[in-house]
Every structure is written in structure tokens, then in C-alpha cells.
Symmetry: D2
Subunit: 139 residues, 4 copies
């Protein structure tokens, strides 16, 4: 995919105010694949001082959203399943979303979440519904 | 449960800096049950202008965390499954977490998420692992 | 719904040779709701002598299939999540499937599985995709 | 792992009467990995003439059970999530279960299900709870 379009896609997803407000960055995106990154800060912790499950989920869900919408067809999540494997170590979390199967109306993604040691800390499988609406990335 | 202890439990969960920073309030809590509430603002929206899935997930996950830890035994989420039913209407979301089954080591919860019209917009089932560690709510 | 149609629907689902071969009966069915029943026998047990997870899953999945197809539109499962709560007691298992939400293309169901003591032994949430195809129950 | 022990493990899982009665074979097993195989017959079909979801689930669940119990510690499934990608083609289905993460008490597995064309038709993630009980494969 050419760089100009990739830049437009990235710009579009910067409009995700929720991901933005959590400090999540879209590192890489193309149709069917995306990576996101979050530097862990105090504001991501829960009452027992580990990264809140919702922060990990959001990091992964944003990677899924970018990867599944990058072809310009609006895809909305209808189901997501997350398994947490271990408490994350270090100061950064990275999520990698990859399409495992897709039909005209349904898209299936897996997302792996790694910590600073490159240990797999969580894994998600997500199901998206592909709508008729299109996204114009150049607007 | 007496009011003093409930207040200590609420105070403890205010230390969830992630939920806090999203504007999520713990409205009600007792062992096995909790309600959380979020006033929807611009910062909760994604790039296609609906509430980000991660915001809905966090609202529900926080209700689960409060309900499942309220007996003072540390319970950590090991799996969560979320289904999104419809885009939410109005300015507020409410999550209600309820224990459906529990053994010594495993706790199972369902969470319903309602919008301002009291429509069910999402539903989660969560599995928690009960650790040996205890929480001292009076510290 | 009138009895004649209900009978046609039941007859149609008797063509589920898999459910049939496991001894699963469709006890009740209408659009959006169904109950199935299985008398537990030696052939449903696994190597550690409890009911195999796949037998419980099939009982529930068949209830979902009947309830979600009973309006005559072909609905296929795209995702299912099952949580097992406790080993079942007694000689019979009953599954009750109920629609929790539905749109034109997506149907969401919950299924509760009860044992002979009426204890909840497992719970599922299932997502179905509604196809254009129709079922003619009178054929 | 030496052949003698592998043979004892296989023999043990032949006691899964449910998998057996469906014609499911345990093709390969070692701690953390297993493959199962099912030749599709009329008895595996549902009312709309495709392989019943419960048959696919059982094939995968049996691979998980074999792989996760092969170290001799009883592991029971507490949660499973299945996504169906496409109707299977051909006369055989193969499931491959692999451990993705494990702690002392919790085991996480992924299972891929392939059809005769080697197309991925379904995928599962499963969570198991490791009990204190041991299995004696030589009994």
C-alpha cells in the first residue's frame, strides 16, 4: 500500500478520542493488520496496582478497529473474547491484530498483546460485522 | 452489610486510577454485586463517533472487579467475553455485575450494560481466579 | 403460535442427526426460545468419568439452533462462549435458550444448562448470523 | 517423550466414551500439544445438512483435554470460546490444540480446526483449571 494512503488512514484513526486520551499510538496499519502501543503510566493502573484489564482491552480493540476498517468498509465489533495470561512487566504494551478469516459480512481477528519482555500477556479473538457504509480517509 | 464497611470498600476502589480517569463511578457494591456508571463525553468516542468498545468494556470490568473483590479476597480476571448488541443512546451508561457461580478458586460473573433508555447495549461473562492474598479495606 | 406450526418446526429439527444420535430431545420451541433435554448415559462420559464438555455444548447449541431458526430464517452460529460452573449431578441435563437481542442480521442468545437438581452447571452466550435463505417447515 | 508412555496416554483417552462414540481419533498427543481427527459421516450433520457445531466443538475440546491432561495433572475446562469461519469442505476434520500459556493453576490453549482442503474452519481458545488430582496412565 502506498505511503500517502497509509498516512491518511493513520490520521483518520487519530480521531479515536478514547484511544488518544489513554496515550495509545497506532504504530502500523494496513488492511487486515495493525499494531498499537501504550506506554504504561500511573493512570493505567487499577486498585491493586496492576494494569487495568480495560486498558489492555482498549489497546487490542483499537488495533482490531484500525486493521479491520483500513480497507474503507466500516466494520463494527460484535463480539470479543479476551484471556489474560500474566501480569505485564516493564513500561510498554504492544498489541498486534491480524485477520484470521473474512467473508463479505463477517471479519475474524486475533490480537496478541506483548509486554516489554516480549512475553505474551493477553490474547483476544474478535468478531466484526462489515457494514455497507464506507469511510473516506481523505476527508 | 454495614455502611461503614461499604464506604471503606468504595474508597478502596477509588484507587482504580484507570476507571477514575475515565470518569467511571462505583455506584453500588457488595460481595457478588456492583453497579458502575459513566457519563458519556467526547473523550469516550472512537473515530466513527460511537462510544469506544474499550470504554464499555472498562465500565463493565470495573463493576466485576468491585463485586468480586468486595469480600476481601483478591480476584483477578482470567477471561472475559463481551457481546455488543446496539449503539447506545443518550448520555449515560450503567453496568450491573452479578455473580452467577462461585467456587473456592473460580468466580463467574455476568455483567449487563444499559444505556439511558434502559436498553441492554452489551453483555459480558467474566471468569475470575481467587488468589490467597487478602485486601485490607481499612488501610 | 399455533400447534400445527410448532409440530412442523419440531419435526424439522429432528433432522439434526447429530443431536439425535446423542439422544437429545427438543422439548419446547418457538421463535426466540427453546428447551432441549438429554438423559445422561455412559456414552456421554469422558476419560475422567464426567459428562464430556462437547455433550453439554451440543445440548445448548441445539437449543440455540432451534430457537434462532424457528422464525424460518436460516441463522448460523458464528461465535459461542461457554463457561462450565460445576460437575452436573443426576441423570438429566436441560438447556434453555433465550434471545437477548436481535437485529436484521445478527442474533444474540444466552443458554442456561441445568442438572437434575436444577443447579446451573454451565452457561453460554452465542452469536448467530441471519442469512437470506428461508426454511420451509412444511416440506 | 518415550513411546511407551505416549501409548499409555493414548490408551487412557480412549476411555473418553463420548469422543469415541462420535468416531473421533486421538492422532497425536504430548504434554501441551495434541491432534484429533474425525471422518465426517451423516450422523455428524444438523438439520440444514452441515456439520453440527457441537461435533466441531467436541473434536477440538477432546484435543484440548488430551494435550492439557497429558502431563498427568487433571485439568478441567472452565471456559471455551469458539468462532466458526466457514462451512467445512470434504470428508475429514482435524483439530490441533496447543498450549499458549500456563501457570500452576490455569492453562490456556488455542485449537485450530482444519478441513480436508487444509482451510481453517474454526478456532477456539480454552481455559483450564489444574486440579491437585493426578492421572495414573499405567492403570
Amino acid at each position: 500500500m502506498e505511503g500517502l494512503l497509509i498516512n491518511s488512514i493513520k490520521k483518520f484513526f487519530e480521531k479515536d478520542r478514547f484511544a488518544n486520551s489513554l496515550g495509545i499510538k497506532l504504530v502500523r496499519v494496513e488492511p487486515g493488520y495493525a499494531e498499537t502501543k501504550m506506554e504504561i503510566a500511573e493512570r493505567h493502573l487499577n486498585a491493586i496496582n496492576i494494569v487495568q484489564g480495560g486498558a489492555i482491552f482498549t489497546l487490542a480493540d483499537f488495533a482490531f478497529a484500525a486493521a479491520s476498517n483500513a480497507d474503507g468498509k466500516v466494520t463494527v465489533g460484535i463480539n470479543a473474547n479476551i484471556s489474560y495470561f500474566k501480569a505485564s512487566k516493564g513500561k510498554v504494551l504492544i498489541a498486534k491484530a491480524r485477520e484470521v478469516s473474512g467473508s463479505k459480512k463477517i471479519a475474524n481477528y486475533n490480537v496478541d498483546v506483548f509486554d516489554e519482555n516480549n512475553d505474551l500477556t493477553a490474547q483476544l479473538s474478535l468478531t466484526g460485522y462489515v457494514k455497507e457504509e464506507k469511510i473516506d480517509f481523505n476527508k
